[in-house]
């Protein structure tokens, strides 16, 4: 195994009540990277995390940690710690005692324990909260206690199961930045589970997109966004227009009743494909100048841009533009070859 991998999953299959939750997952996680498992609920991302944490045992496959097979190692002996979805703080202990828990179990000496707990409370910005009761804290503060409680044990890998799900938008954004900062200052691996694509793109070094117990794509946020492996990924990551198309030959694609130039090749001649065009990649021009034209159906102000739905020969397109057009006007649309993403129809992809 490559020395850079801290965790390696090989052929993990998990079956619950006859249902395959994980379909033979293969994944290498590098040391000190921020990896996000991204997917809709029920895609198996949390199960994958629990496999690593030791709370779920796969029916097939192996889990390696630092090159060592740890399938049968119980959670309390693994060098990973978890931040649980609903924090799972100990209600009978105060903030300090919660953070101290893991060190007490490991019988770390009093003075060292004290230093480490205080250091950690400092890191998550909870100095002065030591004697607070858990239920006197806000959601965001509880979140920080949960993170401190896990990190104080100096795990090699921190698992985070949708930790920001219960927080409001503003707090969530703050915590995203905060988490990234903590990960960099602790210099350890973070494995983060979320269904929020924006969160995944913001924080991750690599994103693992999952669906129905399969990994669809692994890559940097840029890769995932710019070169989605299939229409599902494209749709899940950001807004997309997904259209049926045909590739008559390399660098040419027919869709929306027109022929476009594109940069993709290697498809079978005449293959049916999914064509993905990002709403922000469509340029609004005068009707006669456009490759396509359509009637504006609705306009929504989104702050930075306007989001318009445009009727193009019966199909509805999403367009983002900094300029607004009146509903009912006819507009022209331009798409550059580089912005047309061609992918195999889902199902043929793997």
């Amino acid at each position: 195994m490559k020395n850079n991998n801290i965790i390696s999953l090989q052929g993990i299959v998990v079956v619950y009540d006859g249902e395959r939750v994980l379909n033979g997952i293969n994944l290498d996680i590098h040391d000190k990277e921020f990896v996000t498992f991204l997917g809709p609920s029920g895609c198996g991302k949390t199960t994958t995390l629990r496999i690593i944490g030791g709370f779920v045992e796969g029916q097939e496959g192996d889990v390696f940690f630092d090159g060592e097979r740890i399938n049968d190692l119980p959670p309390h002996k693994r060098k990973v710690n978890t931040v649980f979805q609903k924090y799972a703080l100990f209600p009978h202990l105060n903030v300090y005692e919660n953070v101290e828990f893991g060190l007490k179990i490991k019988k770390v000496k009093d003075t060292e324990r004290n230093t480490r707990v205080r250091e950690m409370l400092e890191l998550v910005g909870l100095r002065g909260f030591e004697t607070r009761n858990i239920n006197q804290l806000s959601g965001g503060q509880q979140q920080r206690v949960a993170i401190a409680r896990a990190l104080v044990n100096h795990p090699r890998v921190l698992l985070l199961d949708e930790p920001l799900g219960a927080l409001d938008l503003k707090l969530r954004k703050e915590m995203q930045v905060e988490l990234k900062r903590i990960q960099q200052s602790m210099d350890i691996t973070f494995i983060y589970v979320t269904h929020d694509q924006e969160e995944a793109l913001t924080m991750s070094d690599r994103v693992v997109v999952m669906k129905d117990g399969d990994i669809l794509q692994v890559g940097t946020p840029q890769d995932i966004y710019n070169e989605p492996a299939n229409a599902f990924v494209a749709d899940f990551i950001g807004e997309s227009n997904i259209l049926d198309g045909v590739m008559p030959k390399d660098f040419v694609v027919d869709f929306a009743g027109r022929t476009f130039e594109c940069v993709d090749k290697g498809f079978a001649p005449g293959e049916l494909v999914d064509v993905v065009v990002r709403p922000e990649d469509i340029k609004v021009v005068a009707p006669e100048e456009g490759q396509l034209s359509g009637i504006v159906e609705s306009v929504i102000f989104k702050g930075v841009h306007y989001e318009m739905t445009v009727d193009v020969g019966g199909g509805s397109w999403l367009i983002q533009s900094t300029l607004s057009e009146d509903v009912g006007t006819c507009i022209g649309m331009m798409i550059l070859p580089n912005d047309i993403h061609i992918m195999h129809k889902e199902g043929d992809a793997k």
């Binding site: 944490g53 709370f55 119980p74 959670p75 309390h76 002996k77 990973v80 710690n81 978890t82 649980f84 979805q85 609903k86 799972a88 703080l89 100990f90 209600p91 009978h92 828990f101 893991g102 179990i105 490991k106 009761n133 239920n135 409680r149 896990a150 044990n153």
Partner: protein, 271 residues
């Protein structure tokens, strides 16, 4: 509170059915047959110290056994899902639907010298054992009758303990013993206290169980009180005195017990 006045009928109820009887007991305890003040009754209670001690001792044993049986069972039930959980809980409560006397009679016929158990043992060449009319039989009767009162409070507190709390403890390095000692026990402490109170208090003052299963040699304080009112020893003044002393013992026990680990109770109730 807007509806404070609604509690008024209840306070009348409390005065008539709780305060007045208690005062009557105290009155009887400190008077003789001619209604003159005396402390003879109270001082005579000392004669029954062995019986009182036996009552406290047997009730304590029964309470401990109930706790040991009910704790793992309640935990298991609380971790189960839906219909299995309901079925098992129902099964543990089911005996309570049967008449108390009937249940205890059933144990008599089981434990008798030529009862069911001894006969079955006889077929395989064992026994007969003396089971009825022993202290063991009394403890058995107490455990059997009061076990549900231990299970229910434990179960209801344990269902409030989130499974992820336990997972978090394991994640942080706690083995099974650590999870039990650091998480389960402190979080279930309010249930343990309620359970102990609900078993110990009725067990210490029971009289039917001891009379039916313990025979004449294992009278408890409850039997003694019963005899002063309905038995040959008819002496309501002495009976009241014994009741009063017993009550003081129970109150003493409860207050000591509730002092112990008050913190946990407070935090537990906030769950």
């Amino acid at each position: 509170m807007k509806h404070k006045s609604w509690a008024f009928p209840y306070s009348i109820w409390m005065v008539i059915f709780i305060a007045v009887p208690l005062l009557l007991v105290a009155y009887y305890a400190f008077t003789d047959e001619e209604r003159r003040f005396t402390i003879d009754n109270i001082s005579r209670v000392g004669e029954f110290t062995p019986v009182l001690m036996r009552s406290l001792w047997l009730a304590a044993i029964a309470t401990v056994i109930c706790l040991l049986l009910a704790y793992p069972l309640s935990y298991m039930i609380s971790r189960m899902l839906g219909s299995r959980r309901r079925t098992l809980l129902m099964l543990t409560i089911l005996p309570m639907w049967m008449n108390f006397l009937l249940r205890t009679y059933a144990w008599m016929t089981l434990l008798e010298n030529n009862g069911v158990i001894n006969r079955v043992l006889g077929w395989v060449g064992l026994g007969p054992f003396q089971m009825i009319n022993t202290q063991g039989a009394v403890v058995l009767g107490m455990v059997y009758n009061y076990l549900p009162f231990m299970i229910l409070p434990l179960y209801s507190i344990m269902t409030k303990i989130d499974a992820t709390t336990i997972e978090a403890a394991r994640d942080l390095g706690a083995n099974s013993l650590g999870v039990f000692g650091r998480i389960l026990l402190p979080l279930s402490m309010p249930g343990i206290k309620t359970g102990i109170t609900m078993v110990f208090v009725p067990a210490v003052s029971t009289f039917i169980i001891s009379r039916m299963l313990g025979g004449g040699g294992n009278l408890l304080i409850g039997d003694l009180i019963d005899l002063q009112f309905l038995g040959n020893a008819y002496n309501p003044n002495l009976g009241s005195a014994i009741s009063l002393v017993l009550m003081i013992f129970i109150l003493l026990f409860m207050s000591i017990f509730n002092q112990f680990g008050d913190e946990e109770e407070m935090e537990g109730s906030l769950l």
